[in-house]
């Protein structure tokens, strides 16, 4: 191609490559090694314990709670953010044009720009049993019986966190889906409409199949993000009440930096790595299968 030597080309990529290797890949491998040891921040001596941490982890009752919570978050997010987001994006595409469409898209997108600490703290106020606007709104429409301390009751705490995330991220996914919808040639809708297909039929016959690639990517992104769930939980409930909102991220964090069980935390991290790799492999198989479309 160009006249550069191969060695000079390596120089161009070396800083980025070294940084990624040193601060991402080396820790990733180191983490696997650490998961076979026990040690604490104060006592740096490391004791090899073999698979003990793994046996303990698999019997850890919080792991089950965490997996359930992460999966619930993933399922709700895919249905609401990607599923409802696609409907919302088509409605925006079909009913709102020009400036109005841009305005609504910006409004829906807005919460995604805000730190999850900010939205988390904000929603602890929204959910507050005394001065929060959720209970106030329920009372205003006569649903007093539904009011409760949303984040303080184990039965509603996780749902409240998940609900907040839908508020925050649906508009973001919608904006990306809107781009995908707008790549569909208008002629396809015109032809379908001439053939007598109604809007709902057009949605399922044209919009859904032709945005399949973006939908698949965004579903995967959403599910991966569900595994990373951490910030909102730390801010809103810190895993409580009664450990009902523990997720994989909080288990890793609390074991390492609160309970000072570094090796055990590394074990939990390795389980997260295994789950993510499973997802990655599933995605590879999936994309290979559907590469034919478009």
């Amino acid at each position: 191609m160009t006249t550069t030597s191969r060695r000079r080309a390596l120089l161009w990529i070396a800083p980025a490559l070294l940084l990624v290797l040193a601060l991402m890949y080396v820790p990733l491998l180191q983490n696997i090694r650490l998961s076979f040891y026990n040690w604490s921040i104060f006592d740096q001596e490391m004791n090899f314990v073999g698979l003990k941490n793994y046996r303990q982890a698999l019997a850890d009752p919080f792991l089950g709670t965490a997996l359930r919570n992460n999966i619930a978050y993933a399922l709700v997010s895919v249905v609401v953010q990607v599923g409802f987001g696609l409907v919302l994006a088509s409605l925006l595409d079909r009913f709102a044009t020009g400036r109005l469409q841009g305005f609504l898209r910006s409004v829906y997108f807005l919460p995604a720009t805000i730190s999850m600490t900010v939205t988390g703290v904000l929603f602890t106020f929204v959910y507050d049993p005394n001065a929060g606007i959720l209970n106030a709104a329920l009372e205003a429409i006569g649903l007093d019986s539904l009011t409760r301390a949303w984040l303080a009751e184990p039965s509603t705490a996780m749902g409240s966190i998940i609900a907040m995330s839908q508020w925050q991220w649906t508009g973001y996914i919608t904006a990306l889906l809107l781009v995908a919808i707008q790549r569909i040639p208008t002629e396809m809708y015109e032809a379908a409409s001439l053939d007598g297909a109604g809007p709902v039929h057009q949605f399922f016959a044209i919009t859904v199949p032709l945005t399949r690639e973006m939908v698949a990517i965004l579903s995967l992104v959403t599910v991966s993000n569900a595994l990373l769930l951490f910030n909102e939980v730390i801010v809103m409930t810190n895993g409580g009440p009664n450990n009902s909102t523990q997720v994989l991220g909080t288990i890793v964090y609390q074991n390492a930096f609160v309970n000072d069980r570094m090796g055990y935390a590394a074990t939990m991290s390795t389980l997260v790595l295994a789950l993510t790799m499973g997802l990655g492999i599933a995605q590879l198989l999936w994309t290979r299968r559907k590469r034919v479309s478009l």
Binding site: T4, S193, A266
Partner: protein, 302 residues
């Protein structure tokens, strides 16, 4: 066929001859179509209100006193006194703000510089082992903070970079390089090699070519990749939580937690602090959202 279609679209805006404006099949000629239209608009408007109201509540409560907030959460503030903002600013938000700005800008420059150079090597230079290197870098997309929190903490302590802004800059840069390279690379592949070759034949060095030809051509993707990055760095939480202990070094997302526990029930000042923390990104993204969304969608869709 096109004529038939466009005559049924008299309501399309004349200045918007794009495909978008002509989408509306089945115009509201019938009653049921009109009902559908009203229902859709009600839904879209309700969504907008539902999204905006909590944010509006946050801003308007910052102007109220805490007593007013508890007495009547819905009421509008009686005055627009910025007192709570001043208190919030002085009680830590300013310091967190400065730290967030320093870390965000420092790492933005680094991630774009290293990312562009790397993408250039991957797409336009005669790089040995290009395929395995590409796979290695893109494989980094799967690594998340949860997987490496403990060893990164250890490593930063060992390197004396724990509790330093430099340490944060390096960790953020490394964590986001894969995605940044992924976005820039997808764009750079589409640039014709001839432009670069022509510049080299004209006697420019590789560095000059990169600086004068490649960077200007990549401007659109650098802007959107930069925006994606700024949004990440400003809001990043897990690494900052683990790697920053010194209160004077904390960024907004972690500093606000201290701020919250220090203020307890002073909701007015808390709301003001939240508003101040959220404001820069809201302003930036209202201004640049289109670029951001397109850039991200292009990166993901290709």
């Amino acid at each position: 066929m096109t004529t038939t279609a466009s005559t049924t679209n008299s309501s399309a805006r004349p200045q918007q001859p794009t495909a978008r404006a002509r989408r509306g099949a089945g115009r509201p000629s019938t009653l049921s179509a009109r009902v559908v239209r009203i229902a859709v608009w009600a839904l879209l408007a309700l969504m907008a209100i539902g999204v905006l109201y909590p944010l509006f509540w946050m801003v308007s409560s910052s102007f109220k006193t805490s007593t007013e907030i508890f007495a009547s959460p819905w009421a509008l503030p009686s005055s627009l006194s910025p007192e709570s903002f001043v208190t919030a600013w002085e009680r830590g938000v300013f310091q967190y703000f400065v730290n967030s700005v320093l870390i965000t800008i420092g790492s933005l420059v680094l991630v774009l510089a290293l990312g562009t150079a790397a993408a250039f090597a991957l797409t336009k230079l005669n790089l040995p082992f290009a395929t395995p290197i590409t796979l290695l870098i893109l494989g980094g997309l799967m690594i998340s903070p949860t997987m490496i929190l403990v060893p990164v903490f250890q490593l930063m302590i060992a390197l004396h970079l724990h509790d330093t802004l430099l340490g944060m800059v390096l960790v953020y840069t490394a964590y986001r390089l894969p995605f940044t390279i992924f976005l820039i690379r997808a764009y750079m592949i589409t640039l014709p090699d001839e432009v670069i070759e022509a510049s080299m034949i004209d006697g420019a060095s590789l560095l000059q070519t990169f600086w004068r030809i490649v960077i200007p051509l990549c401007r659109p993707v650098l802007v959107s990749a930069g925006l994606v990055y700024v949004l990440f760095a400003w809001n990043e939480f897990p690494f900052a939580l683990v790697l920053l202990n010194d209160p004077s070094l904390k960024t907004l997302p972690v500093g606000l937690l201290d701020f919250k526990s220090a203020l307890q029930t002073d909701w007015s000042v808390l709301f003001a602090g939240l508003t101040l923390a959220a404001l820069p990104m809201i302003v930036l993204f209202v201004a640049a959202q289109r670029t951001f969304v397109r850039g991200l969608a292009d990166g993901m869709g290709k």
